[in-house]
């Protein structure tokens, strides 16, 4: 026998015929596997928080092959979160001081003419208002170290982006399908974006501040999206060769982006006057994992510093029109937001002066009446 004869094994009819199944069957089966994995993760999460005693039973029945799995199917696209509304005022009720462990912060320093007068602890229900972690955040730093541009991808959502006040949606083509070009009516605004729905029914929104339209469109075209990720697989990936020059990814959700809620505790400081003339400070619980803070504007007169050192951690600050918005993570699960009239250094000084107090501290007791 010549060894060359062995190579004929790979050739029908000398070797086995080799008849693969139709690729469509394989794709359907693979998609089902991915969805079941997502459903199993969701079930596990539910079990972890103790809301459901037990779901997702895998049962092997006599005579059944492994490709038949009994258990919950993946939540359909309709089960994905909806985009949070542009403006939302979640219903809230009072909370006690004792509930505010880790949130009871009061300032030891405020700018001249600004006074801390009390606190307003509350419990907010996030029904219909739940914010969602972004899927992907790209940022461009300027030569002076300040933030020059930002792109934020949000999704997957169960319904298309509805637009909002002062938002115009113009039809366009993107990713081989109909999409919306998102603009704001504010003159000279550098905000723009694209909204679209993938063939699997999941909707996405890519918005940008300070980036030109061609760059944003190129990123949108190159995104690899997966609305039913396995385990901690990202829902959105931008291939390295599609990353715009100078940009870097600063956040990428692992698995489906975390949805806020269903409720959160809010420690609102009562400050007189509040922002924009004075200051507003809010400390709240959160389930979100993405670093707090995002660029809300870009253009002349807007100064933004990424990675502001505040309270021993990294915060995100943006200064526009004499108002500074400073976001930081106080502890895992607790975030702070401060808005003050002044500059970034002044805002950081106020934040750094925040001191945690006990529930019986006289400075936070309700006043008479």
């Amino acid at each position: 026998m010549d060894e060359h004869d062995l190579w004929t094994l790979g050739q029908a009819p000398l070797g086995p015929a080799g008849t693969p199944r139709p690729v469509g069957d394989v794709l359907r089966r693979g998609t089902g596997l991915r969805r079941r994995a997502a459903a199993a993760r969701a079930s596990a999460a539910v079990v972890m928080v103790g809301l459901v005693a037990g779901v997702g039973v895998l049962a092997a029945r006599p005579g059944q092959e492994a490709d038949v799995v009994v258990g919950p199917d993946r939540p359909d696209v309709q089960d994905l979160p909806t985009m949070p509304p542009q403006f939302c005022d979640p219903p809230s009720g009072p909370a006690t001081l004792d509930e505010m462990d880790g949130l009871r912060l009061i300032p030891n320093y405020l700018p001249d003419g600004v006074e801390f007068t009390g606190v307003d602890p509350a419990r907010e229900r996030m029904d219909g208002c739940a914010e969602v972690d972004p899927a992907l955040v790209l940022r461009l730093e300027g030569t002076d170290g300040t933030l020059a541009a930002e792109m934020v991808l949000e999704g997957p959502f169960s319904a298309p982006y509805p637009g909002g006040d002062e938002i115009t949606l113009e039809p366009t083509d993107l990713r081989g399908r109909e999409a919306s070009r998102v603009r704001t009516g504010v003159p000279d605004a550098t905000f723009l974006g694209f909204a679209w729905t993938e063939v699997d029914g999941a909707s996405w929104l890519l918005t940008a501040h300070g980036a030109d339209e061609a760059t944003v469109r190129a990123v949108a075209e190159a995104l690899e999206l997966e609305a039913a990720p396995i385990d901690a697989d990202p829902v959105a990936v931008l291939p390295d060769d599609a990353m715009p020059d100078g940009y870097a990814a600063t956040w990428q959700a692992r698995g489906l982006p975390v949805v806020e809620g269903p409720e959160r505790l809010v420690w609102q400081l009562v400050i007189n006057p509040p922002a924009p003339e004075g200051c507003t400070i809010t400390i709240s619980t959160t389930r979100r994992e993405a670093p707090p803070g995002e660029m809300s504007a870009a253009g002349p007169g807007v100064r933004a510093d990424d990675r502001v050192a505040v309270r021993g951690t990294e915060g995100f600050a943006i200064e526009e029109g004499g108002i500074v918005v400073l976001d930081w993570q106080e502890t895992p699960g607790v975030v702070g937001r401060l808005m003050c009239n002044g500059d970034i250094d002044e805002a950081v000084r106020v934040a750094d002066s925040l001191e945690e107090v006990e529930p019986d501290d006289p400075r936070i007791q309700p006043g008479p009446g």
């Binding site: 004929t8 094994l9 199944r21 492994a66 291939p239």
Partner: protein, 211 residues
């Protein structure tokens, strides 16, 4: 909070060249290839693009992989089922699988594992049914196929597996060692043993393959 450099679906570089044998007609993609259908890294993020990429990978390699697994398990229906399941798992994790050094070899390994699982289940089911033990169901090679295939089908399973991975899947000996999780030396000795058996059965001994 994790923030930092992030992975992407970037292409892995790597050579695809390999010795061709005169008896084999050139084919566009082989199981040991390091690229998926030649299109890795060229597609965008659309689901249709990923499907097209996977379909090209499937079209290029599924037939060879079914043949490979058929030679190993000697049961075309089982091989077709197992390979379909392995490809389905590949599609379920396509973002990771497409970046493997040899995604076709990954599918082969999963398909062989699937066959082993199904063999085990069959045995358990038979025991549960109090059936009389009998050998696993085996379909003999079609009488129209070659004597070589018939002779290979009679080899012990380990040697049959090595022959299939080497001469049907066209994997190198190091690649076979990786797929089976055994030392490369065991691959070489097993292949030599299998070729000697075939030589005895079919005639003059096969040429020793360079290692």
């Amino acid at each position: 909070v994790t923030v930092g450099p992030l992975p992407s679906g970037a292409e892995r570089p790597g050579p695809t060249g390999r010795q061709r044998r005169a008896a084999v007609t050139a084919r566009p993609a082989r199981i040991g290839d390091t690229k998926v259908g030649g299109v890795v890294g060229t597609t965008g993020g659309r689901r249709e693009d990923r499907e097209a990429e996977f379909t090209a990978f499937y079209d290029g390699q599924a037939r060879d992989i079914v043949r490979t697994v058929t030679v190993v398990v000697r049961d075309p229906a089982l091989a077709e089922d197992a390979v379909a399941e392995a490809f389905a798992r590949a599609w379920a994790r396509w973002r990771q699988v497409r970046t493997h050094d040899r995604p076709g070899a990954w599918v082969v390994r999963v398909a062989l594992n699937e066959c082993n699982s199904r063999f085990r289940r069959r045995r358990v089911e038979r025991r549960k049914a109090h059936a009389v033990a009998r050998p696993d169901h085996v379909i003999d090679p079609d009488p129209d196929t070659s004597d070589v295939w018939s002779a290979v089908a009679r080899l012990p399973e380990h040697e049959r597996t090595l022959i299939a991975l080497r001469y049907v899947a066209d994997l190198s000996q190091p690649q076979i060692a990786e797929v089976l999780g055994i030392p490369a030396g065991s691959v070489a000795s097993g292949l030599n043993r299998g070729r000697r058996r075939l030589g005895i059965e079919l005639g003059p001994e096969a040429d020793e393959e360079e290692i």
